[in-house]
Amino acid sequence: MQREFSNYRCVKYRPELKGQILELQKYMWSSDAALNAAYLEWKYGNNPYLDTKIYVVLCDEQIVGMLGAYGAKWQSGDSDPEFVVPCLGDLVFHPDHRQQGLLSKIVAFALDDLFNSGFMYIFDLSSGPDLILGMLMTGWRRAGFLQTSHWSAVQNKIPSGLRKYADRLTFVSSTYRLLRENINKICFRH
């Protein structure tokens, strides 16, 4: 159902909103409200670096969207100072309120509060591909792709004794690698 954009308003977290947040997060965290409560407490309540930074979208005083910013401490060299940088996460909207343009509204609200709190940078390490393009169009920049690499037990079933031996001898190691690649080609690619 299309709603008037003006029906929605963003507010910062208050303890009395907790129950509604836990219900909303059943769409993302887990179906178990008690587990969600433990997660909220751990991530935001007990975060050692940042007070609770949670932003919600209200529609008729009901929470229909949430975005969080959890704290992490970063460093760039041994002698450099340490920096607390908020990281965005836990974005979720109630299914009845998706496709309403709320993403840009809640992100802008969160950034405004975080930058006004004095933070120079905000990071995001958890957004999926469906969000990234939109964020890049609103001034976010990509530091890089993180390239997930995989090990598969099926493709690497090699006797550990042979592997250990091969690792220690250059010639055997390269022969072993060649052999393994050929085994993979013969066994798994045809």
């Binding site: 965290w29 887990s30 433990a38 997660y39 751990w42 991530k43 007990n46 975060n47 050692p48 959890y70 992490a72 401490k73 970063w74 460093q75 760039s76 060299g77 041994d78 450099d80 340490e82 920096f83 990281c87 996460g89 950034l111 930058f115 120079m120 940078y121 905000i122 990071f123 995001d124 390490l125 958890s126 591909p129 990234i132 393009l133 964020m135 890049l136 001034g139 976010w140 920049r141 990509r142 530091a143 890089g144 792709f145 993180l146 390239q147 997930t148 690499s149 995989h150 090990w151 598969s152 037990a153 493709q155 690497n156 090699i158 550990s160 592997r163 250990k164 690792d167 690698r177 393994r180």
Partner: protein, 178 residues
């Protein structure tokens, strides 16, 4: 070598202090951080240690709590070792005893020594293709600056450029997805 369900926060931080001398952008991995980070109630972790009070190395795995097509998977979310051989021995123990069907790791900022170890174990590397529709599916780190008037090429954390991936040491447990 020992596998445990809880972090040895002080010993892990001590090892990082002794050998984790990275000149790049990374999380501060101190005792406070380790004590807090692995209490995540939505994840299960396993800690593989080499050494006793004074560690020579450790690997941290986030292990599957949910069944995904009956497969047991793990993510290698953090590690520290005094030398590459320790990494190799720890991983061999996981590969042979862990009974995992697959193990994943973020590899974009791995050191050459660790990358070489992974290659020896048969890890497959998914490198950037340059094709945006394929690359966009890979996990990404995004940065937003408070100062719109500063060009992104000048965004710095300390004395390091934020938009140069070579300046980062990135591990899965920096993300709240793990």
């Amino acid at each position: 070598m020992a596998i445990e369900k809880a972090p040895r926060a002080a010993a892990m931080a001590d090892l990082v202090e002794r050998v984790g001398n990275y000149k790049c952008i990374r999380h501060l991995r101190d005792e406070q951080f380790y004590s807090w980070r692995f209490q995540n109630p939505l994840s299960q972790y396993r800690f593989l240690y080499w050494g006793d009070a004074c560690l020579e190395g450790y690997l941290v795995l986030q292990v599957s709590g949910r069944i995904n097509e009956g497969k047991a998977w793990a993510n290698l979310v953090d590690w520290e070792v005094s030398r590459a051989q320790v990494w190799s021995d720890l991983f061999e123990a996981i590969a042979s005893l862990g009974n995992f069907d697959s193990i994943s790791i973020w590899s974009a900022t791995l050191s050459k020594a660790i990358r070489s170890v992974l290659e020896n174990f048969g890890f497959s590397f998914v490198d950037k293709t340059g094709i945006i529709t394929k690359d966009v599916k890979q996990p990404t780190i995004l940065v937003k600056s408070r100062y719109q008037e500063i060009p992104p090429s000048d965004w710095m954390l300390g004395n390091r450029h934020l938009l140069d991936l070579a300046n980062w040491d990135l591990r899965m447990f920096y993300s709240d997805n793990y």
